[in-house]
Amino acid sequence: MSPHTCSVKSLHEELREKLNTGDPAHPWCRQKASEIFDLVHDVSQGQAGGDHLDSIIELAGHLTDQGPDAKCRELGQYVTGFVNRNHEEFLSHIHTHTCPTGHCPMLTPAPCQMACPAGIDVPSYVTLVGQGKYAEAISVIRRDNPFPWVCGLICTHPCEFMCVRGRMDSPIAIMDLKGFAAEKSMSARQYVNPEPLPDNGRKVCVVGAGPGGLTAAYYLALRGYRVTVIEALPVPGGMMMVGIPRYRLPREVIDREVSMIESLGVDLRLNTRFGTDATLDSLRSEGHEAFLLAIGAHGSYKLMIPGEEEFKGVLPAVPFLRRVSLGDHRMPGRRVAVVGGGNVAMDAARTSLRLGCEEVHILYRRSHDQMPAHHEEVVEAEEEGVQFSYLTIPKEIQGENGKVTGIVCVRAELSEPDESGRRRPVPVAGSEHVIPVDAVIPAIGQEVQSQGMEGFEQVDWTRRSTIRVNTVTMQTHQEGVFAVGDAVTGPATVVEAISGGKKAASAIHRYFEGIAQPTLPSVPVRRRRLAHFEAPAALKTDLQRPQMSLLGNERRRVTFQQVRLGLDDAQAHNESKRCLRCDICIRCGRCVEICRDKMGIDALCLGYLDFDNPGPTDLRITAERCIACGACATNCPTGAMQMTDQNGYRVLSLCGTVLNRLQLEYCEICGAVLGPARYHDYIMKRVRDISPEMSNRRVCLDCARSRSGGRHAEITPPRE
């Protein structure tokens, strides 16, 4: 079996094949094999209970021990061996209701959940938000991410890039819904920790109180570990606190979520630098048996141009943002040049404006569409008055009396693509010019500062100066030492650090318990199976992604107040209803194929189903063409497409979106449901020639057969 094949699905198919081909033939044996098949079917559908696996093994044992013939005994042995070999995968199906291969359609996570580095069950919490169950939504998120409020404000939201709704119009505002739910539940004092397991007496030390380290601390504390977190800075949160400005992420948000982690008994020691204030030996002597390095990437790349080291007023973005976050609100200069085009450059520029700088320039050596910064960040910076100079390469920093007075730049143009397809900025001869500034803030990249880590002698470092780990377990080359976050990935995202922290907590637990470590990355787990909302196709189509209110521009330029003001209740609830519920519909496209190719109707215009080549989608067109035959619903592997009779109407819906609603007709003779007129006409068109009895009459098949049979009874068969 290939590693891509689901063992549950594989056994399910094998048993089905055997039963269909009359193997085994003995009735008693077939009965037992059918019972095993039913149990395996339950596992593959997410309907299995805790006893299912034992029952399968027991039934297989009966076949082996009591089988009346060799084939029967062989089948029992085979099933027993198969289940034992794939025990963990069966258990995973039963306990997590997740099929990592996607072969069990009912258990396949949605693309948004798969895209989330932390694997949050997005469809479930989006649905809970729509139901107004904010605290439940937060508890679903915190199964995978202890910082829902932080991530609800600043996550890079890769989930939204994969959101299937984005193939129709625009993706669901997943991040905003998370922030909304967190604020609501925190405000209502319903944001609570789950009950931790009893203290197991084992001690773990986390070096660094950033998102990765604190996430690991949270999940370890929930498992009963005693966790100490040491942090060199005077505040917890790492880059969340000292790298992200307050107008994007208020300090109170971080404080509240960190305090939730502390309240689990995590010992947070601030102003404690590893290597000086605490050493490996001192921490070991306190009883710490495992270590997690989460030291972040707090160093800055240099511009490597003349004048950089010479003049006062050159302040790299990371220490600049840290300084401001820690309360130093002196402006770096009257006129500031920020060099770089990433999110850190945007943060530094917008922070400078808020500190009172009169002119803030962003100098970027490439073009606008090549900027790595997020689009919203660039737009908001432009709105606030940051001046952008694209295709501009800094050449030298000028100064007088030891202070920066300007930055010499050259204009650039993009070269023809080289052999790798990359267009490089090439300086334009004679384009040298000086931008007069008092301060230069390089924001061209960050690096890990490894000073102090010498104590971990066997920890290996990569050529990128990051800690080398097995990224499945976050284990370093030194036994009992793990690492996560930017120290491993290089400067990356908060949610990636959180993902690493969760993986590391699991791996540290396995390390202590002597459990084998996984060899493949863990797959997101579906936490809930919630019913969908019902909505007419027109409403589902017309609902638009909400536009979040922003703080007024004047105030943005002078204060650090939060810019994005959040969604209101109606916006959040409507946005939740826009979700296509891809945890239910797996976009296999069978419904479209059946309708178009088998029935010849082509009523389903669902171009969004195709990931690589999405076509047009029109949910409303189904009502014009659909005959409500039900072929799509019958062939849907997950029950996403449903056809039901309600109050005299036949209703076709896809994950609650009502695609068609037709009035039912009834048999003129017996009153049985015939289906809608369109369906009846479709059938009549095909049977008119062979069954004239039904022509132009609303008669069910049974009555038509009986009347037709009555007429045929009068015909005398020819004598031989």
Partner: protein
């Protein structure tokens, strides 16, 4: 190749980079979307974040990727 956020890519070959791990062999041939091209600069050497269709989000070296659509 310059990768930008939102581009569709294919993992078309094994990377020569040291960050390539054994389990990544399973990603060969898969399609995904660039979610974070790199963090602060256009660096051909940076690991970039790719959301793979039904396989999750991973940081991968750039030499194993090629753009398949916009």
């Amino acid at each position: 190749m310059t990768f930008r956020q939102g581009q569709k890519v294919e993992i078309y070959r094994r990377s020569d980079d040291e960050s390539w791990e054994d389990y990544m062999e399973e990603f060969m041939g898969m399609h995904g979307i660039i979610t974070d091209p790199d963090t602060s600069k256009n660096d051909p050497d940076a690991l970039i974040e790719v959301s793979l269709d039904e396989k999750g989000t991973h940081r991968l070296p750039q030499d194993c990727l090629r753009v398949i659509g916009q």
